[in-house]
């Protein structure tokens, strides 16, 4: 057949139809069928994974607690704090709240009372200024009895209503879109003039926790690598019938509940636990100075290293198994010592496995939650424990979402760095 496209002509089939269209038509049926086969999974992922994550991320910069009230029963959405918003729009940041401002507040409080939305609005303000929720519920309760001059009347209820910071928070909250949760997630806040400042030192927790999460994850990755490399090598070089048996031992933790594994570490490591008892029993340790191996960072590290070890062993094993022993032999015959042969020939060929294992363990460790919660104590908590706290206890979902988004961003950046430095196509998971 001649190459017609070289002459600028369109390739056609025997009966003159364009070849490309004929090909697409011939394959359309197979493509459609393939698409329908993956459709259930696609729908499942969209509904249960992509959408909730998208919603969660949306919550991190969008909170309508101070702008809209939605009636739970009827689903009717009513704007709230509209008078205050009008006043904020008319007066720039830094304006002393005057009688008009307080009058707007009083009018809005009446609306809050009617809608029973004082708690919701108060909670939104409370996220950024603690103690303000009760001020809202209290003020709304007697809202319609407030008489002008509203300024004195409201400040008489609680003198904190005069606090300029409260007014700054309320001004920000009248817009549902806000970056304040991200600021809070990196231990920053705004002062009364809207400048970004650090929160007071005693309340700086998140940045410290991010760093600790990063540090512990790197250390856990390193530990799993040091432990897994020789095991994987042993598994890869043993005859298949022995290596299969050993592989079962490596995989055994996978078949045990995570909770069981973590609690067995508690039994081993606690101050009245197996390890301490053994050390005391052997006389290596006095009964009064038993080692504190749990409820601190060490407990988190030991237990997580153990739990994540298979994720390092498996990718390493899968790259080591097909490496032909003749490579190292060739290097040796060419004059390399066994160390040089390892360093220059064997090790570089295992790099894709190291990359895959390290990335897998690191990403899992960064988001780990149960193990640090059980064995970490106050000292061994990771950022995910704080995210869980805001999800379940403080119910500040926006802050939890902001923290999670930052964590996701960090992982993405590391992934990108990995791709730039090593190349993601070099990754070999199994």
């Amino acid at each position: 057949m001649t190459d017609a496209s070289a002459n600028g002509q369109l390739l056609t089939t025997a009966d003159g139809k364009p070849l490309k269209r004929a090909l697409a038509k011939a394959q359309a049926h197979a493509k459609r069928r393939a698409f329908f086969l993956v459709l259930p999974l696609l729908a499942f992922i969209l509904i249960t994974f992509v959408m909730p994550i998208g919603q969660m991320l949306h919550k991190s910069f969008y909170n309508e607690g101070f702008t809209v009230n939605e009636d739970i029963g009827s689903g009717v959405r009513t704007p709230i704090m509209t008078n205050l918003k009008t006043w904020f729009d008319a007066n720039p940041l830094g304006t002393e709240p005057d009688e008009a401002a307080y009058a707007a507040l009083a009018a809005d409080l009446v609306v809050l009372k009617d809608l029973r939305a004082a708690g919701q609005a108060g909670t939104r303000i409370n996220y950024e200024k603690s103690g303000s929720r009760s001020m809202f519920t209290k003020a709304a309760r007697g809202a319609e009895k407030l008489k002008p001059p509203f300024k004195e009347a409201i400040i008489k209820l609680d003198k904190d209503w005069a606090d300029p910071e409260l007014w700054r928070v309320m001004r920000d909250a009248t817009s549902a879109y806000t970056a304040n949760f991200y600021l809070a997630a990196i231990d920053r806040t705004k002062d009364v003039n809207g400048n970004i400042v650090n929160v007071e030192e005693a309340r700086q927790v998140y940045v410290k926790l991010f760093w600790r999460t990063l540090k512990l994850s790197i250390m856990i990755t390193l530990m799993t690598f040091i432990l897994a490399y020789p095991i994987a090598h042993l598994l890869a070089t043993l005859p298949l019938r022995y290596s299969n048996l050993l592989m079962i031992l490596v995989l055994l933790p996978f078949w045990t509940s995570l909770l069981v594994r973590t609690t067995s570490w508690m039994i081993l490591l606690q101050s009245q636990g197996v390890v301490n008892d053994a050390l005391v029993g052997m006389g290596l340790l006095g009964d009064e100075n038993r080692l504190q191996m749990m409820y601190n960072q060490m407990g988190t590290m030991v237990a997580m290293t153990h739990i994540l070890l298979p994720f390092m062993v498996l990718p390493l094993y899968s790259v080591m198994r097909p490496i032909n022993p003749s490579y190292v032999r060739a290097a040796r015959s060419l004059g390399a010592t066994s160390w040089t042969a390892f360093r220059r020939i064997y090790f570089p060929q295992t790099a894709p496995g190291i990359g895959a294992g390290a990335l897998l363990v690191f990403i899992l460790a960064v988001g780990y939650y149960i193990t640090p919660a059980l064995v970490g104590g106050a000292d061994g908590q990771l950022i995910s424990n704080l995210i869980a706290f805001h999800m379940q206890k403080s119910l500040n979902w926006s802050l939890a979402a902001a923290l999670a988004a930052i964590l996701l961003g960090c992982v993405m950046v590391l992934y990108w760095l990995y791709d730039r430095l090593i190349g993601i196509d070099n990754l070999k998971l199994g």
């Binding site: 032909n324 003749s326 490579y327 032999r329 060739a330 290097a331 040796r332 015959s333 060419l334 004059g335 390399a336 010592t337 066994s338 040089t340 042969a341 220059r344 020939i345 570089p348 060929q349 790099a351």
Partner: protein, 367 residues
């Protein structure tokens, strides 16, 4: 017979034995002496111990008993990287994460050679195998034959005096294999390197080597130049393993001096043979005759020579030769090869003929 008193030579195996499990010997009493510059092939079926011998020489296996000497020095306790032996592996073992030039540079780097000297040697080695333009490629981007050349260049680039090759052409197609056989022997002779070559392909062994050591059952069955090996096999194994061979079983009935004997075949017919592994009447023997030495033209036979009745079973036209299968003395696989010449007779199946041979071409071997 194996060389039993190896005292001088560049490579010497002296009563070497090897066992992996302490129960069976993979190599049984190996004695071998190679002069410098020789191309020696270790030929044998798989499991005959030839690769084990190569690995012991390279230093990847230790001899259970006996001594291996290289240039007069015992090397049993010298680690592989200090032996200075070049090696070409069956799968080439080119380092996949390095370019061709880096592969060749590796043995020079570990020897602490300077950059300019390295580059010069790499260039010369690549030119030697006609791969000068491929220095920046990765092994995966090369064809099998090209990889083979690079593996060869890498084994030679540090100028070793001894090169070992472990079935290096096994993965190539027939045409390329024949070409590389020629290339490897040419290089080995040009550079004057001593080569130990392992293969299970007897054609390869015959065409390439100065001497061939035929291995079976952990022993060298015969060590001889290719022509001697083919024409004068010392026992039935060698006769069977090298080239095509017809065997007939029988008993020695008469010895006529050291050069001639009469053998009675199982169906009672008598033939002349050259005694190799038989010495007295009554001994069981297996006679061996090459297909191209069988004669069915009576005029070409010696007067008084014994002839045999044969029935033509099959005639195969193979281009350059004719291959005729006969039934001789109850053996249905008796093959005769004749050259495709204008005056050559083409036999037809069913035809009854008389065949014979020169007594020197028929060897009475062990049963």
């Amino acid at each position: 017979m194996p060389d039993t008193t190896p005292k001088d030579g560049f490579v010497i195996f002296d009563r070497v034995q090897k066992s992996y499990d302490g129960e069976t010997l993979v190599v049984k009493d190996l004695n071998l002496s190679m002069p410098k510059g020789e191309f020696l092939t270790m030929l044998g079926p798989s499991g005959s111990g030839k690769t084990t011998c190569l690995m012991m020489l390279a230093g990847f296996e230790t001899a259970t008993h006996g001594e291996i000497l290289l240039d007069g020095k015992p090397i049993n306790n010298i680690p592989p990287h200090k032996r200075g032996i070049g090696m070409v592996f069956q799968n080439y073992a080119l380092f996949p994460h390095m370019t061709v030039a880096e592969n060749l540079s590796f043995p020079l780097e570990v020897r602490g050679m300077g950059k300019s000297e390295r580059e010069e040697k790499i260039k010369r080695a690549l030119d030697m195998v006609q791969m000068g333009a491929f220095g920046n490629r990765r092994p995966a981007q090369l064809s099998g034959g090209q990889q083979q050349r690079i593996a060869l260049a890498r084994a030679l680039v540090f100028q070793p005096e001894l090169v070992l090759m472990d079935e290096p052409l096994g993965a190539l197609d027939k045409q390329l294999r024949e070409h590389m056989q020629f290339e490897i022997t040419r290089l080995a002779h040009e550079l004057g390197i001593t080569t130990v070559y392992v293969t299970h392909d007897q054609t390869e062994a015959l065409t390439m080597s100065d001497r061939v050591a035929v291995f079976d059952d952990g022993r060298i069955q015969q060590l001889a130049p290719p022509d001697v090996l083919y024409e004068e096999p010392q026992n039935s194994f060698v006769a069977q393993f090298i080239g095509e061979n017809n065997t007939l079983e029988g008993t020695v009935v008469e010895m006529k001096g050291t050069d001639r004997c009469v053998v009675k075949l199982t169906d009672g017919e008598l033939i002349d043979a050259k005694p190799v592994n038989v010495s007295k009447p009554g001994e069981k023997t297996r006679v061996s005759i090459r297909p191209e030495r069988v004669e069915f033209n009576k005029d070409r036979l010696q007067p008084g020579a014994h002839t045999l009745k044969a029935e033509v079973l099959e005639f195969i036209y193979m281009g350059d030769i004719f291959r005729t299968r006969l039934r001789v003395a109850g053996n249905d696989d008796f093959v005769v090869k004749t050259r495709n010449a204008p005056d050559q007779v083409r036999l037809t199946p069913g035809q009854q003929i008389q065949i014979g041979w020169l007594p020197g071409d028929c060897r009475a071997l062990d049963a």
